[in-house]
Symmetry: C2
């Protein structure tokens, strides 16, 4: 059973759940999007859905200074209430994300921020690398490479550095906290300064 | 004795000393730029000059989190060596600047960063407010208002919030540290996040 990238994206947009979770759910549901949604719900990633559209206007701005001041990160993570912003659970999340940004140096928070020219250019380069293959193969390879590219430059698509074995992405961390804390959580923005960069 | 803004600016560019110090020095020297330079030298602001053109590529990135995470600041201040970057003197400066930015919310580090359209637009507005006066008066008023505008939006031209009585600007703080630590010091960049802004 092959699951198309666009189906996965649709389910992600709908639920706010992680790429891998959506893919697994779709595979389990034999590609049926409604059933996949139920699978996510059963796994407790459901709670996230109904929250994902709610307004996250409170939150916490955290920082992380690395290597004695040679790298610094500032990150704003939004939730819905000051009550949740003040919990250790939320503040640990902010700390983890700031530390992660210091280590991985992402360019964007999420794929929605990437200018379409940037993606188009990558696609063109990847396509030209495999131009002698059949069109379906080219599309598959290009899609795979673009996904890899995105997962390298987008914060929420990056594998969390503190736990690389689990393959959990930053977005998975957030979905987990949304389920636990019962509020929508959004990484609004970050800044990362590095001496000489 | 009236000192023109352009004379003050020239002395500032030449020495890296603060606006007020240059103005005072020029007044003391009856407008003679060379003598004013000597005045600055005598005041110990001299050391700064020879350092001001040197490469500042080391430094320290500091942060300041205000009001339990509702405002956050990240600032990179450069000096020439890691040795100076590690001194309490330097790190106190970085802390003071970060705290100041949290309080005053500047737009730019220095006037060099302001797009000329922004200044031109301000000049136009100020000029139209006083259009019935003689040209020299208009110029004087407009220059004064532009200086005030710049000193409000540029970090290094702002009066240091922790010591408003002394009227010391952030640039004065830096020049003082340059003289004390014997290295060029430059604020490279800052980021300021505020919840809901």
């Amino acid at each position: 059973m092959s699951i198309s990238a666009s189906t996965v994206k649709e389910l992600r947009d709908q639920t706010g759940a992680g790429m891998m979770d959506c893919k697994k759910a779709l595979t389990e549901a034999n590609g049926d999007a409604d059933k996949a949604l139920d699978v996510l719900r059963k796994k407790g990633l459901a709670k996230a859905q109904s929250k994902a559209s709610r307004d996250a206007s409170d939150g916490y701005i955290g920082s992380y200074i690395h290597m004695g001041g040679k790298i610094g990160v500032l990150v704003e993570v939004n939730c819905e209430t000051d009550f949740v912003a003040k919990t250790d659970d939320f503040q640990d999340l902010v700390k983890d994300i700031a530390m992660h940004i210091a280590a991985t140096n992402p360019t964007y928070v999420s794929r929605e921020e990437i200018p379409s020219e940037v993606i188009d250019k990558e696609k063109e380069i990847y396509a030209s690398q495999v131009e002698n293959k059949p069109p379906q193969v080219i599309e598959k390879i290009v899609t795979g490479k673009v996904e890899k590219f995105i997962s390298e430059i987008c914060l929420i698509d990056q594998v969390f550095v503190k736990d690389p074995d689990s393959k959990a992405k930053i977005n998975d961390l957030i979905v987990e906290k949304i389920a636990k804390l019962g509020e929508n959580i959004v990484i609004k923005r970050f800044a990362r300064f590095q001496l000489g960069a």
